[in-house]
Symmetry: C2
Subunit: 136 residues, 2 copies
């Protein structure tokens, strides 16, 4: 079940450009094979890995960290602890990020609520305006 780069782009949501770029950056576990005419051939497992990559990326893992991971995986058994450590590092990072966002969200929600009250009463212009006192 061979897949062309266009097919993989369509199914992964990445552009063909991005797929070639990822390959140059060494983000594929298995070197991408070529047809005799030079065209790239992908398989289902590449698609699965890309789905994981996309997840990791969208949660803020830099390509360099993904490469670090895949480099270990490529070396085969023996470094599982290290791989796990990379994942845990990112896990902690994401957790911290969620806390940070939640924190900002709380502050914002409070501001918005207070301001809505003020607006409802016809008082206004005091919402996070550095030139004026803060109603919160």
């Amino acid at each position: 079940m061979d897949l062309s780069i266009g097919e993989v782009a369509r199914r992964s949501g990445l552009s063909v450009h991005a797929l070639r770029f990822y390959e140059r950056e060494g983000l594929f576990a298995n070197p991408v094979r070529r047809l005799s005419n030079g065209r790239r051939v992908y398989h289902e497992e590449d698609l699965e890995w890309l789905a994981i990559c996309t997840r990791l990326r969208s949660s803020g893992m830099p390509l360099a960290m993904i490469r670090e991971y895949i480099d270990l995986a490529r070396q085969g058994p023996g470094n599982e602890r290290e791989r796990l450590e990379i994942l845990r590092r990112h896990q902690r990072h994401v957790e911290a990020r969620i806390r940070e966002l939640q924190d900002t969200l709380d502050v914002m929600s409070h501001k918005v609520r207070v301001y809505e009250d003020h607006l409802a009463r016809g008082e206004a212009d005091r919402l996070w305006n550095p030139s004026h006192p803060d109603p919160a």
Copy 2:
């Protein structure tokens, strides 16, 4: 209580470069005043606004959106609904982002847990490795 750019940098955590850059980008509500010798003078309210900016930035609000907001604030009363709408837009964005991160975190945590079990039993090399089946 006048503050120099260096003082503001120290207290805001932004670099002097970034402060000048923010000014060029129109992110200050009140135009930054100058001493007769051309040096910038800041005040406590600038610092307060910068703290807010930093929050918004670190939660992913682009500078362009902050500028949009501050432009409205600068125009004075009458556009409070619009300002509120900007905040709500970002609020929704942050909420969605938190959900996305939480989602990825769940997947990762599951993977990590399963893998730790496998490792503990001496089975290995199956953690998100595109060349091998997945134990999850």
